[in-house]
C-alpha cells in the first residue's frame, strides 16, 4: 500500500481504521487479487471499492460527508481447505445459512443474484448484485448493481493457514444506506457494530463447515422465565429474531456443507 493511501485510510476512518486494518487490507492486496480487478466505476457515487485503491479513495472521499458507511469486517480460521471454503462461499445461496440478517440469495444468472435482508418486525430490504471479481480458491468480490436502492460491496479472501491448520478467510462488506426508510431498516439490521454481526456470521459458518451444524439452544426446555427478561430479549436490537425456521435451516446447511 502506498504511503498516501495509508494516510488517507487513517484520516478517513480515524478510530475505525487502525494499523491492524491497514495491515489486513495490505495482506489482501499483496494477495494480488484486488490489483487485478481494476478500477470500476459506480455511476451514482463514483465509488469503486471492489478495488483496494478504490476503497481507500472512497474512504477518503467520504471523510466529512454526512452519510456514514457501515463497514463489516472480520476473519476466521476454518478447519478445511481453501477449495472447500471457496466452494461453499461461491454458492451465494449458502450465505443465508449463516448470515442471520439474510433471508435469501437467489441466482438471476451466471453472475447476478438477488439479495433479501430481513430486519426487526420482518421489514425487508432487497437488492441485486453482481460478481465483480472471482478467482477460484482465492478471492470473490461482489457489488450491488448501480440502480439498486442500497450500495453493497463485498469481498472475501481465502488463504492457507500456516502448518496445515486450514484456511483463514477475511471478509469485508461495505454498506451505504440511503437516506429515508430503507436506509433506516438497513441500519437497524446491521446494528451498532456491523463487524460484530459479521463476526457472529463467520462463527456460524465455521460451526457449519467444521461441525456440520450451528450450535443452538433455541427451543430447549426451561422452567418459568421472568417476564422482564423475556421482554428484554424481544427488545434487543443486536439480536434480531428471525422466526422459527432454525432447524430446517440447519438441516439444509448440513446437507449442503457435506
Amino acid at each position: 500500500m502506498s504511503e498516501a493511501a495509508r494516510i488517507h485510510l487513517k484520516n478517513a476512518q480515524g478510530r475505525h481504521y487502525r494499523a491492524a486494518t491497514a495491515f489486513r487490507w495490505g495482506a489482501l492486496i499483496t494477495g494480488g487479487a484486488l490489483a487485478l480487478i481494476g478500477l470500476s466505476k459506480r455511476s451514482k457515487s463514483g465509488v469503486a471499492i471492489a478495488t483496494a485503491g478504490g476503497l481507500l479513495s472512497y474512504a477518503g472521499a467520504k471523510a466529512g460527508a454526512k452519510q456514514r458507511d457501515l463497514i463489516a469486517r472480520s476473519s476466521i480460521l476454518l478447519n478445511c481447505t481453501p477449495e472447500q471454503a471457496y466452494q461453499f462461499w461461491s454458492k451465494f445461496e449458502n450465505l443465508p445459512l449463516f448470515m442471520r440478517h439474510l433471508e435469501s440469495v437467489t441466482l438471476l444468472g451466471d453472475t447476478r443474484s438477488r439479495w433479501t435482508a430481513i430486519g426487526p418486525l420482518g421489514k425487508r430490504v432487497i437488492w441485486d448484485a453482481e460478481i465483480a471479481f472471482d478467482r477460484k480458491d482465492d478471492v470473490i468480490a461482489w457489488r450491488s448493481l448501480p440502480d439498486s436502492e442500497i450500495y453493497v460491496d463485498g469481498i472475501v479472501k481465502f488463504r492457507n493457514a500456516p502448518a496445515n491448520r486450514g484456511t483463514i478467510i477475511t471478509v469485508v462488506v461495505v454498506y451505504q444506506p440511503p437516506a429515508g426508510a430503507i436506509g433506516g431498516v438497513l441500519s437497524r439490521i446491521l446494528g451498532k457494530d456491523p463487524s460484530f454481526m459479521m463476526r457472529q456470521d463467520l462463527r456460524r459458518l465455521k460451526a457449519l463447515i467444521e461441525a456440520g451444524e450451528i450450535p443452538t439452544v433455541e427451543g430447549q426446555s426451561h422452567g418459568p422465565r421472568s417476564s422482564v427478561a423475556a421482554f428484554a430479549r424481544v427488545l434487543n436490537p443486536d439480536d434480531p429474531i428471525k422466526g422459527e425456521g432454525n432447524l430446517t435451516d440447519i438441516a439444509n446447511a448440513r446437507r449442503r456443507a457435506s
Partner: protein, 400 residues
C-alpha cells in the same frame, strides 16, 4: 419431566418442564438415571456467576440411557439403548481445539460465544447447565437431557458397573485427575492440595496414582480431612493453624511443596484484612472471585514449582502475588477439564479395580430433595461430601 431450576440466588426449585427435543442433527436425548450436585453448582446457587436466567435447568454431572438420536449422529459411536456417562463439556470433535485434545476449549459449541469473548478474549466450550455465557444449555438435574454432539462426548458404559462407580466420570474424577496431571508430578514430589471437596478428594488419589511421594491436604472440615487421610494424605486443618504457608515450609524442610493445587476456587474461606476486602467486593459485585487460596498456593509453592488450578474462577482478581509468581519461576496450569481425554482411561482404572469413585458419595436422594440438598452441601452440614440425585425415585413419570 422434572427438572431442578435456578430461580434466583439461593432459590432452586423442582419444576415440571417439557421433555427435551432434538434440536440439531448431532443431538441425542438421554433418559437420566443418576445426576449429581457439584461444587461448581454452588457458585450458581450463591449467585456469583453472571448470566444465569430464571428458569435455567441446572446440572452437569449425569448419566443415563440414550433414548433418541438425531440424523447426524455417527451410529458407530452411539445408538439408542446405549448406557452412557455424559461429560460436562460440550465439544464438536472437529475444530482445531478438539483435535488438539483441548476439548473444553472447543470453538463450535457455545452459541453465546460473544458473551464469553467479551469477558475472556475468547470463549471456552459450551457447558451443560452453567450460565448463558457458556452456552445456556439446559442441564442434567432432570429426568431427560438433550446432549449435543452426542457422537463425541458420551462414554459407553458396559452393563454390570453400578451408576455410582462411573457417574463421576462426568466431571469430578477427570477434573481431580487433570488437576494432578497439571502438577507435573516427578518421582519424590510433594503435592499440597487446598480443598478436600469431591474435586480435592479425586485429586489426592490421582496424585498418588501419578507417583507423588507425599500429598498434603488442606481444609477445615474434619470429616473431609478424614477422607483425605484415608487416601494416604497428610492433613492440615487451616483453622487450627496460624499460618498455612509457614507450616508447609516446616513440613518440607523449607523447600516448599513441588506443586500446589487450588481445588477450592472462587469461594475460598479465609480470614484477615484480605478476606474483608475480597468478600466486600464480591457482595458489591465488583469482583466475583475470592482468590485467597490461589494467593496462598503461589506463596507456598517451591521455586520453579507448579501451581495447578482446577478450582473455578469467574472474572478478575486483585492482589495477585505476581512478584512471587515471576521471581520464583513458577508455572501455572488451569482449565475446565478436557473431559474426553480422560474418561476412557479412567473408566479402565475403575474396571481394573484401581479406584472405586463411589467412596465420595455421602447422600443419595430423590430429585425432589435437590433444593434442600443444595443448602446442606453448601453449608457442609450432615457430613455432606457428594450428593447423587435419583430423577425417578418415586417411580412416577411426571407429564409436562
Amino acid at each position: 419431566m422434572k427438572a431442578v431450576c435456578w430461580m434466583g440466588t439461593e432459590k432452586m426449585t423442582v419444576e415440571n418442564v417439557p421433555d427435551p427435543k432434538i434440536l440439531n442433527p448431532r443431538d441425542a436425548i438421554v433418559r437420566i438415571t443418576s445426576t449429581c450436585i457439584c461444587g461448581s453448582d454452588l457458585h450458581l446457587y450463591n449467585g456469583l456467576m453472571p448470566t444465569m436466567e430464571q428458569g435455567d435447568i441446572m446440572g452437569h454431572e449425569f448419566m443415563g440411557e440414550v433414548v433418541e438420536i438425531g440424523a447426524g449422529v455417527d451410529r458407530e459411536k452411539l445408538k439408542v439403548g446405549d448406557r452412557v456417562v455424559v461429560p460436562f463439556t460440550i465439544a464438536c470433535g472437529r475444530c482445531f481445539f478438539c483435535q488438539q485434545q483441548l476439548w473444553s476449549c472447543c470453538d463450535n459449541s457455545n452459541p453465546n460465544y460473544w458473551i464469553a469473548e467479551k469477558l475472556m478474549g475468547y470463549s471456552p466450550s459450551g457447558l451443560f447447565g452453567y450460565t448463558h455465557m457458556l452456552g445456556g444449555y439446559a442441564g442434567g438435574q432432570a429426568q431427560y437431557a438433550r446432549v449435543p454432539f452426542a457422537d463425541v462426548g458420551p462414554l459407553r458404559i458396559p452393563a454390570g458397573i453400578p451408576d455410582e462407580q462411573v457417574v463421576f466420570l462426568s466431571d469430578i474424577f477427570p477434573t481431580g485427575y487433570m488437576g494432578a496431571e497439571n502438577c507435573n508430578i516427578q518421582p519424590g514430589d510433594t503435592v499440597a492440595i487446598w480443598g478436600c471437596g469431591p474435586v480435592g478428594q479425586f485429586a489426592i488419589r490421582s496424585a498418588f496414582l501419578l507417583g507423588a511421594e507425599r500429598v498434603i491436604a488442606i481444609d477445615r472440615f474434619d470429616y473431609r480431612l478424614q477422607l483425605a487421610e484415608q487416601a494416604g494424605a497428610e492433613i492440615i486443618n487451616y483453622e487450627e493453624v496460624d499460618d498455612v504457608v509457614q507450616l508447609l515450609k516446616d513440613m518440607t524442610g523449607n523447600i516448599g511443596p513441588d506443586a500446589c493445587m487450588d481445588a477450592v476456587g472462587m469461594e475460598a474461606h479465609y480470614s484477615g484484612p484480605m478476606w474483608a476486602i475480597d468478600r466486600t467486593k464480591q457482595v458489591l459485585k465488583m469482583q466475583p472471585d475470592r482468590p485467597g487460596v490461589l494467593r496462598q498456593a503461589i506463596m507456598a509453592c517451591r521455586k520453579g514449582g507448579t501451581v495447578s488450578v482446577p478450582g473455578v474462577y469467574g472474572g478478575f482478581i486483585d492482589k495477585m502475588p505476581m512478584g512471587a509468581y515471576v521471581n520464583k519461576g513458577l508455572t501455572m496450569k488451569t482449565g475446565q477439564t478436557h473431559m474426553m481425554r480422560y474418561m476412557k482411561p479412567l473408566l479402565e482404572l475403575i474396571q481394573g479395580g484401581k479406584i472405586d469413585p463411589s467412596f465420595v458419595v455421602s447422600h443419595r436422594v430423590p430429585i425432589d430433595k435437590a433444593p434442600e440438598m443444595y443448602k446442606v452441601f453448601r453449608d457442609k452440614k450432615d457430613h455432606c461430601t457428594k450428593v447423587v440425585l435419583d430423577p425417578w425415585a418415586d417411580g412416577v413419570r411426571v407429564a409436562a
